[in-house]
């Protein structure tokens, strides 16, 4: 066996070192699954073997779970000779193989213990759960968990069945549904592991247990075993009633994996384990067949990892060492940027017009660091050291020797031009100038620069310390070298970069803007505001559209609108939603949350309610919405964003589907269950998407018209990943 190295010791205990060749971390590959069967046959068939101890042959953990690259690339059997039913049965046979091997291990008649010196996640933990006993090293950094749900999958190697049986349904649900992990002490308390011993001693402890328990069987194989809190047991009922409700409340029924997990547990705990494992595999495969599961694995796991490793950095440039960065403007964005830089060990100059404003910007970091210290997440020394990296000042002389400047002043061309020139005067020839503008085209801002080749957009999201995305925008003259440096900077501050080309609103603000606008178009049609907001939540967007408009500030939308009006001149056409904004801001002085009056009224106690007077601005015509209408409204909100993404592709604003998907999820929270704006379209199928967009365009207006790119792709049967993805993506698509 390649993946399992075995050694039978003098006491008849088989030592099994799990070590997948060619991988830094053990993952469950096709080879591992195959050999698991051989391994079990050996344990069972060899009379010299009294029991077995399974442990990792690598020092970085036991196993990180399934090889998602393999899963993401796999597809249902396409053999056309098979009937639908035969295809399903064949796919079950394949999908059930690991469960079958692990069940055989569990019933091999000899004690098997798992020694966990390091992490066991997903399939890794599931293998451990199929052993009769687990012993873990006493190290609080070790994580045990079933994170499959986070990327749209089910724990499919017995996890949905063995964990509830081992620790109870109620205790198991957060681990299954949210992928909450636990450390060894927590695992001991819950009963997931039988003992915690000093690091390095797990194998010995596991062996001792094997020798002491020659007749070990799983608790659920003992006659008379029943799941203690199954759905119809005393006290168990509320776990499911409440669990379904919580799931529905938090996911709006959008995440098929979570629903499948709930069902697998509900149905599985009512039957014996063998039937339960079959049920789990059926739900696993049914879920895998949904576009959501594949898209989530691709975006939330594979693409996120790739981008976080710099997949979109141009090659051929040395790594740019970033030691010092100046941030111009100490407002909310500048202050947040200063904090993440200091956390990454970057010497940071924080400049504002007054010393007071600059200090206030630094105080933001102090607040965050104090909180971390008070919660025991950081030592005072470390916090002091981080804070000491930030120099608040009004003096541009401090910009000298900066490797990079991030400009984060008001969205006003004149002010931006002025600070650009002041800072550039202090910069060395290779330093990069980055603008954190969220709306103004980079190429036009770069005209204020003497070195437009070094000028680039570095668009952060608010709050900077929480939002993981940075949108890098190429100006017309920006060089690939400057891009490489900007990517290096973003990776250094531990954010995920996406790269886009210049356009009004770039990629993220432009597409996200359509969501907020569509909410206002719906308002203008007379749809009851509560419907718009509730439907917004049901799309899986983090904040409903009218709330979002209030958060961004209506007067800001107004100002952007006025600027656009000015820029576009007679090409500008007022939309109903713009007229509403004009009335709200000009006529009524309702600016949004900032002045406690927007589409909502903001009360002293922190609660808010839709402003009753809104019906006098826009009379309500549609007072209720049944599920068919909800579906239509959801589509409107999601299609607008996807159509704008397609336009960005056609215009060359964005070129890599991974950037588009990850940018949409991390940047503005686009319905993560879809895998992002591009996966949303690919998942529906471009031809279907185009047909629906055309229907919406007829009904609601030309903003829904699919562009030429989409129509071409529909005609050619293409997908975005197939047409624009890298080689691997094309293959998988």
């Amino acid at each position: 066996m390649e993946n399992f190295k075995t050694n039978l010791d003098a006491d008849g205990v088989l030592h099994i070192a799990f070590n997948v060749p060619g991988k830094t971390m053990n993952t469950i590959t096709g080879g591992v699954m195959k050999e698991m069967g051989e391994l079990v046959a050996e344990i069972k068939g060899n009379d010299a073997i009294k029991g077995a101890v399974l442990y990792s042959g690598k020092d970085n953990g036991f196993c990180a779970g399934a090889d998602l690259g393999e899963i993401g690339g796999g597809s249902m059997d396409a053999d056309k000779k098979l009937s639908e039913d035969e295809k399903l049965k064949k796919s079950f046979e394949q999908g059930f193989s690991l469960n079958r091997s692990l069940r055989a291990l569990e019933t091999c008649g000899k004690p098997v213990a798992c020694a966990l010196e390091g992490l066991a996640l997903g399939g890794g933990l599931e293998i451990a759960l199929a052993c009769h006993y687990r012993v873990a090293a006493d190290n609080p950094k070790i994580q045990f968990g079933l994170p499959e749900a986070k990327v749209g999958l089910l724990p499919g190697a017995g996890g949905t069945q063995r964990l509830p049986r081992l620790i109870g349904v109620m205790n198991a649900m957060p681990h299954l549904l949210q992928g909450t992990s636990m450390n060894p002490q927590e695992a001991l308390k819950k009963g997931v592991v039988g003992a915690v011993v000093p690091a390095g001693e797990t194998v010995a402890a596991a062996k001792a247990w094997v020798l002491a328990n020659p007749n070990a069987v799983a608790p659920w194989d003992v006659k008379g075993y029943r799941v203690k809190d199954g759905p119809y047991s005393p006290g168990g009922g509320m776990t499911f009633v409440g669990g379904n409700a919580m799931l529905s409340k938090t996911t709006y029924g959008n995440y098929p994996a979570q629903k499948a997990i709930m069902s697998a547990v509900f149905e599985g705990v009512q039957v014996p384990i063998d039937a339960a494992l079959r049920i789990e595999t059926r739900y696993f495969l049914k879920n895998m067949a949904s576009p959501s599961a594949k898209a989530m694995v691709r975006s939330l796991f594979l693409s996120t990892q790739a981008l976080a490793k710099g997949a979109n950095r141009p090659q051929g440039f040395d790594k740019y060492e970033i030691k010092k960065v100046s941030v111009l403007g100490a407002g909310m964005m500048g202050a947040g940027i200063a904090y993440v830089q200091a956390m990454a060990g970057i010497e940071t100059v924080l400049i504002d017009q007054s010393q007071e404003a600059a200090e206030k910007g630094k105080d933001y970091s102090k607040k965050l660091l104090d909180k971390a210290v008070s919660r025991g997440k950081m030592t005072q020394e470390k916090a002091d050291a981080v804070l000491a990296l930030i120099t608040p000042t009004t003096d541009y002389a401090h910009v000298k020797k900066s490797d990079l400047v991030i400009e984060a002043v008001f969205e006003n061309r004149e002010i931006k031009a002025e600070v650009t020139q002041k800072a550039e005067a202090m910069l060395g020839p290779n330093a990069v100038f980055g603008s954190n503008t969220s709306t103004l085209p980079i190429t036009s801002l770069a005209t204020a620069s003497k070195r437009p080749k070094n000028f680039i957009g570095v668009h952060f999201f608010s709050p900077v310390d929480k939002m993981g995305l940075v949108e890098i925008i190429m100006g017309k003259k920006t060089t690939q070298e400057t891009l490489a440096k900007a990517v290096d900077y973003v990776l250094k501050i531990k954010k995920t970069p996406i790269v886009v080309n210049d356009s009004r609103g770039f990629y993220t603000s432009r597409c996200f803007g359509t969501y907020v606008q569509e909410g206002q178009e719906m308002l203008a049609e007379g749809i009851k505001p509560a419907i718009i907001e509730n439907v917004g939540r049901m799309t899986g967007m983090p904040v409903p559209p009218l709330s979002m408009a209030d958060e961004v500030a209506l007067d800001l939308a107004y100002k952007v609108g006025q600027q656009t009006k000015k820029d576009l001149g007679n090409k500008w056409v007022a939309t109903p939603s713009q007229l509403i904004i004009e009335e709200m801001v000009e006529g009524l002085g309702r600016f949004g949350r900032k002045n406690k009056k927007g589409f909502y009224d903001y009360k002293e106690d922190g609660t808010k309610a839709i402003w009753p007077g809104l019906t006098s601005v826009v009379p309500t015509k549609i007072h209720e919405a049944d599920p068919a209408m909800v579906k239509e409204y959801k589509n409107r909100l999601l299609y607008r964003q996807a159509l704008e993404t397609a336009r960005c592709f056609e215009e060359g604003v964005i070129t890599d589907p991974r950037d588009a998907d990850i940018g949409s999820i991390l940047g503005w929270g686009f319905a993560p269950y879809t895998g992002g704006t591009v996966s949303f379209m690919d998942g529906i199928g471009i031809a279907n998407f185009v047909a629906e967009a055309e229907r919406l365009a007829k009904k609601y207006g030309p903003r829904f018209k699919p562009n030429k790119l989409l129509k071409d792709m529909a005609k050619n049967g293409e997908t975005f990943y197939g047409r624009f993805g890298g080689e691997a993506a094309k293959k998988a698509a």
């Binding site: 759905p231 119809y232 009922g237 499911f240 009633v241 409440g242 669990g243 379904n244 409700a245 919580m246 799931l247 529905s248 409340k249 709006y252 029924g253 629903k259 709930m262 069902s263 509900f266 009851k528 505001p529 509560a530 419907i531 907001e533 509730n534 439907v535 049901m538 309610a609 839709i610 007072h623 209720e624 919405a625 599920p627 909800v630």
Partner: protein
């Protein structure tokens, strides 16, 4: 086709549905048995002529399990040939049992049958029988399951009934029930429950609070705020089905919702030829029956739709009905029904209802059918429509006419 006539109706008084209630020490079997014996004895009924006994029972487990109707038939010493069947249409089970008994008569399967029901909520708590709807994720999530109280509060919110509106309705229910008892309007149908020795253990509805006022109700906290807004947060689920609601106004509490009680009912239904054979006189004719499904998450709006369905079958309009009886599951259910069909308050639930006297789930339908029949006779009126809202989004209705 034969016609179905109501020959008689009896009900037990309703005992408080907890372990201090007067009927807690009486088995469900005994309650059903006493109702069956009463309707036999006061009519000198030859039970060999009763083809079937259909009893509603909503939690048919434990002592209420295993077809309590047949067991009660045996225990009441009916003829061995009288069959028995227990049915469950949740809160309308008692009325559905009468409709099924009538349908058997109309179809010719039976010449005489008994409908009614039994529920000892103090002995077999609500929900004891489990069920898939709330628990099985495959249906709970897609049908936006929320408990009835949330549905009732949603009706109040959607159709604009304030806390004062529902409380005022509850006060009136108590007042009407007290008056009805004082004037002896229930005397004709009430059969006191006897204990193991044969002594009367309960002769009146003991759940009533006739001194209820707006002020006394105002002191009660709404019951469904926690499960609606916090754990697990059903408001957010019902808002997925009713996105037009920005918030849910929680207005219901123990004082304006039906009481949890114990009791049993029995209604004797037969064809015309039984009148000749037994010498009994039919009191009313069943002229229409219907059941319907309605939107399940709000759950309790079925009466409007099933009433319209039954009226259409009878070729009648809402104003052709002299008296309405709609089970007072929650105040908002009745208020919405009155609003939807434009029914004046003095035509509906004129003797009070379940808010005052309680709702013994499986038995209620048979009880309120008898109540409104008595009231038609007392006031010389002709027609009545009886209906109940039903779990999982249903409604059942019956229209009767005096003969």
């Amino acid at each position: 086709m034969a016609e179905a006539f109501i020959y008689d109706a009896v009900r037990t008084p309703r005992g408080k549905g907890r372990n201090t209630g007067s009927l807690h020490e009486v088995t469900a079997l005994s309650l059903a048995t006493q109702a069956l014996q009463a309707i036999r004895d006061r009519n000198n009924l030859d039970t060999s002529k009763v083809d079937d006994v259909v009893l509603g029972c909503v939690s048919p487990v434990g002592e209420q399990g295993s077809d309590i109707a047949r067991i009660a038939v045996l225990n009441a010493d009916y003829a061995e040939t009288t069959a028995g069947v227990q049915i469950n249409r949740f809160c309308a089970s008692g009325l559905e049992a009468c409709n099924m008994a009538a349908a058997k008569v109309i179809s010719g399967e039976a010449d005489m049958a008994i409908g009614g029901g039994v529920e000892s909520m103090s002995r077999v708590p609500m929900g004891s029988d489990g069920g898939a709807w709330a628990s099985d994720p495959s249906i709970a999530i897609k049908s936006y399951f929320a408990p009835q109280g949330i549905g009732a509060d949603t009706i109040a919110t959607k159709y604009g009934f304030s806390r004062d509106d529902v409380d005022a309705y509850a006060v009136e229910s108590q007042k009407r029930a007290a008056t009805a008892w004082k004037e002896g309007r229930f005397a004709k149908s009430i059969v006191p429950v006897k204990d193991q020795m044969g002594a009367i253990i309960l002769a009146h509805d003991e759940h009533m609070r006739p001194d209820t006022t707006m002020q006394s109700l105002a002191s009660l906290d709404a019951s469904f705020i926690a499960q609606g807004t916090m754990m697990p947060g059903f408001d957010a689920i019902i808002q997925q089905r009713y996105p037009e609601l920005e918030t849910i106004n929680h207005v219901h509490h123990a004082g304006n919702s039906s009481g949890i009680v114990d009791g049993a009912s029995a209604v004797l239904i037969g064809n015309k030829k039984m009148a000749k054979a037994t010498g009994m006189k039919p009191r009313a004719k069943i002229i229409a029956m219907a059941s319907i499904g309605s939107e399940p998450s709000i759950m309790l709006t079925g009466p409007e739709f099933v009433a319209c369905k039954a009226l259409a079958k009878a070729g009648m309009k809402p104003e052709d009905i002299d008296l309405y009886e709609l089970n007072e599951a929650f105040a908002s259910v009745v208020l919405r029904f009155m609003q939807a069909l434009n029914i004046p308050h003095d035509k509906i639930n004129v003797c009070g209802g379940a808010i005052a006297m309680g709702h013994p789930l499986g038995a209620t339908g048979g009880m309120i059918l008898g109540t409104v029949l008595d009231e038609l006779e007392r006031t010389g009126k002709e027609t009545a429509l009886i209906t109940l809202c039903v779990g999982a989004g249903m409604g059942t209705a019956t229209i009767i006419q005096r003969v």
